[in-house]
């Protein structure tokens, strides 16, 4: 047995004894019903998501399927100089191809995470989104890690059908988002208020998160 293994076993043994040293006060995890705030019936999910995402400082552009490419093109034109590198990190191959075409010559390779630091825009799709909090859920399932946090601009494409009502649904639904090596729930642009409580965005992650919401 390695020393590492024996240390782990020793900890387990001590924890076992410690647990027994006091009476068990909670035998069953209580119902979490009160935790849920939103259900499919209580809200129009796309509207609520758009409102909540805006409330935490992300920008939302609502389009239909036909308007998607144009919206992404406009966002790139707004945010990225002609020579700014763009990384596309998509699980959806079709979307990836379309976004890559829009990025054109600015497209960066997405097989080297070190290069992410040279990119100005990361375009991703999402595993799902959460209406209640306006959050995006992005995992490393089919995406290069951190394409959504390293570049200063994050463009996220969300389909209305991907919106879950409540955070609770992320943990109860059948999505495989949490099976990935890394999953991030994003609820706004990177932010700090460490200096005198003044809010500054873009401290480590993106200063702007642009959501294209496709209905």
């Amino acid at each position: 047995m390695t020393t590492r293994q024996s240390a782990v076993d020793a900890l387990l043994a001590r924890v076992r004894a410690a647990v027994r040293a006091q009476p068990v006060t909670v035998r069953e995890v209580p119902s979490h019903a009160v935790v849920r705030r939103v259900t499919c019936d209580t809200a129009n999910l796309a509207d609520l998501f758009a409102t909540k995402a805006a409330a935490v400082g992300m920008r939302v552009t609502r389009v239909d399927e036909a308007g998607l490419d144009a919206a992404v093109t406009t966002l790139l034109a707004t945010h990225a100089q002609a020579d700014a590198k763009v990384v596309v990190a998509m699980r959806d191959a079709n979307l990836a191809a379309r976004a890559s075409a829009i990025a054109g010559t600015r497209l960066a390779a997405n097989d080297n995470d070190d290069l992410l630091f040279d990119c100005f825009v990361g375009i991703t799709d999402v595993d799902c989104a959460i209406a209640e909090s306006g959050s995006l859920v992005v995992s490393t399932n089919g995406r290069i890690r951190n394409a959504w946090v390293t570049p200063p601009i994050h463009v996220a494409i969300v389909r209305a059908a991907q919106i879950l009502p409540d955070l609770v649904d992320l943990f109860e639904s059948a999505t495989d988002a949490l099976d990935a090596a890394s999953t991030t729930i994003i609820t706004g642009p990177s932010k700090t208020a460490d200096i005198e409580g003044v809010l500054v965005t873009g401290v480590h992650g993106p200063a702007a998160v642009e959501i294209v919401l496709v209905s």
């Binding site: 240390a7 900890l11 035998r27 995890v29 995470d113 951190n146 946090v149 943990f171 460490d194 200096i195």
Partner: protein, 498 residues
């Protein structure tokens, strides 16, 4: 380690508290920030949970208590699942052991004596175990990536709040240290300062050999860790370096993602009045085959450092704490004395009960600190007006005042409380069992005031400007008004019953 949060023991809180109360800037920064956060916390819970806020807290309390009551099962499950995901799990009994584990991981990756560097995202437990000094001693240069922690690091300062670590500092101090340490041009603009720090850190992320972080939750079902940040620095520090080490206290375990929602919904609302932290990141094992980015090795260092002892004690409840900082923001004493007065990285109400307890549970681990616990922090249990604001604010309903009282009893038992005060209380109790004597004693106080006090022109009261014995602290800044006219009992009996 920084003496601000790892002071010489036994720790005397009073001089620091006195100094803090006189520090007008500190009063202003800490006072404003804590009041604001406390008010906003109330507002967001009212808006989002209304009357169900209390029920939500009860759910969180019981869910976390369940985890503690079954921590052995959960720990076993976590270890198995984390290993299945490809992570390596270590266990450390003491802070020193935890540091040694990290050092040996670092050494295994060292190429021919080349100096190594580390990027670290915010973690209370690494402060607690003294990881940075250990890394520095071994020549590993560590970058604190949380902006607040970074500013404290380059200033040789220490965190004074568990969520907003530089609550005690202002932009001017930051501007000066950026000029001095980073060669930046002088600016007091928080946005510009933040961008200077961002630019400085970007290159360091890319070059780092090791990433280090703490964790907010460990999920037994999934074998993964959950880390909450607003800046995104955790994602960057885990994404780049080939090795990542998560240091985590064993009390962070919950059953799994199925139990996570109440805590996530409470944590950011309680701490910073946000619906969720900007980034809630899940890490499950190292990077997988064919993936780009992410650590090739992921290590969990499960830290005991007194926690198992707390688990076994009647203070098990304290381990429910999710480090949201709400009790600090709500605490009148914290607002006045600031974090450094607590002599620990855990300041405020939770720190006042947790610090001596972790210390006690580790007793003997460090020879110079044996005896441990309250003997080393005799002021902490007393530094409270027992106002109960912390209990009211706590998302997992830790009854902090109850534990403060508990500690006051132990102080008394160990002879660590002022003797004269104990004698006065014993006399008081003795008199209180003898109603006639008790009334005479009250009469004597009133007589004393009548003879020696300053008469009040408005009512039948006299003001004492000096009180002897344990009451001396009172008249240091206050007078004592004693009613000298007809006593209540005289009045009551004279008017007869009706």
């Amino acid at each position: 380690m920084n003496p601000l949060i790892a002071p010489a023991l036994p720790f005397d809180m009073k001089p620091r508290a006195r100094e803090a109360v006189r520090d007008l800037k500190l009063q202003q920064f800490v006072g404003n920030a804590t009041h604001l956060k406390d008010t906003q916390r109330g507002g967001i819970f009212d808006r989002d949970f209304g009357a169900e806020y209390d029920a939500l807290r009860t759910v969180a309390r019981d869910t976390k208590q369940y985890a503690l009551d079954h921590l052995d099962e959960l720990l076993e499950r976590f270890i198995a699942n984390a290993e299945k995901s490809g992570a390596t799990v270590h266990a450390a009994t003491t802070g020193r052991e935890a540091c040694d584990i990290a050092l040996s991981i670092a050494r295994a990756h060292q190429a021919h004596g080349r100096a190594q560097s580390c990027v670290k995202s915010k973690s209370m437990v690494t402060e607690e175990i003294g990881l940075l000094p250990a890394f520095e001693a071994a020549g590993i240069k560590t970058l604190e990536t949380d902006l607040g922690e970074f500013i404290l690091q380059i200033d040789g300062d220490a965190p004074s709040h568990i969520v907003t670590p530089m609550i005690h500092k202002d932009r001017v101090a930051t501007a000066k240290s950026f000029v001095r340490e980073l060669g930046a041009r002088y600016t007091e603009d928080p946005t510009e300062l933040t961008m200077i720090a961002r630019a400085h850190m970007r290159g360091l992320y890319r070059a780092a050999d090791i990433g280090v972080s703490g964790a907010n939750f460990l999920l037994a079902d999934e074998g993964s860790a959950v880390i909450c940040t607003n800046e995104g620095n955790f994602d960057l520090s885990v994404g780049g370096p080939p090795v990542h080490i998560v240091f985590v206290g064993i009390e962070k375990l919950i059953r799994g993602a199925r139990d996570l929602a109440p805590f996530l919904k409470l944590l950011a609302r309680s701490g910073t009045a946000q619906p969720l932290t900007i980034y809630t990141s899940f890490v499950c094992g190292p990077r997988r085959a064919g993936e780009h980015g992410g650590p090739k090795e992921l290590h969990f260092v499960l830290v005991d450092a007194g926690r198992v002892g707390v688990l076994a004690s009647e203070k098990r409840d304290l381990l429910r704490c999710i480090r949201c900082g709400a009790c600090l923001n709500a605490c009148p004493v914290y607002r006045k004395v600031g974090g450094h007065s607590y002599g620990s990285m855990y300041a405020g109400p939770i720190g006042a009960v947790l610090t001596p307890e972790l210390e006690r549970a580790q007793g003997g681990a460090n020879a110079s600190q044996s005896g441990a616990g309250l003997a080393n922090y005799p002021d902490l249990p007393r530094a409270s007006s027992l106002c109960g604001a912390c209990y009211e604010a706590c998302p997992v309903k830790i009854d902090i005042p109850k534990f403060l009282l508990h500690d006051r009893t132990r102080l008394r038992e160990r002879g660590l409380s002022p003797k004269s005060e104990g004698a006065t209380l014993a006399l008081w109790r003795w008199l209180a069992e003898r109603p006639t004597l008790f009334r005479m004693a009250i009469g004597a106080v009133r007589l004393h005031a009548r003879m020696l006090g300053q008469k009040d022109s408005r009512d039948e009261r006299a003001w004492l400007t000096r009180v002897p014995g344990p009451g001396a602290g009172w008249t240091q800044s206050r007078d004592l008004g004693v009613a000298t006219g007809e006593s209540f009992r005289e009045w009551f009996s004279k008017r007869g019953s009706r």
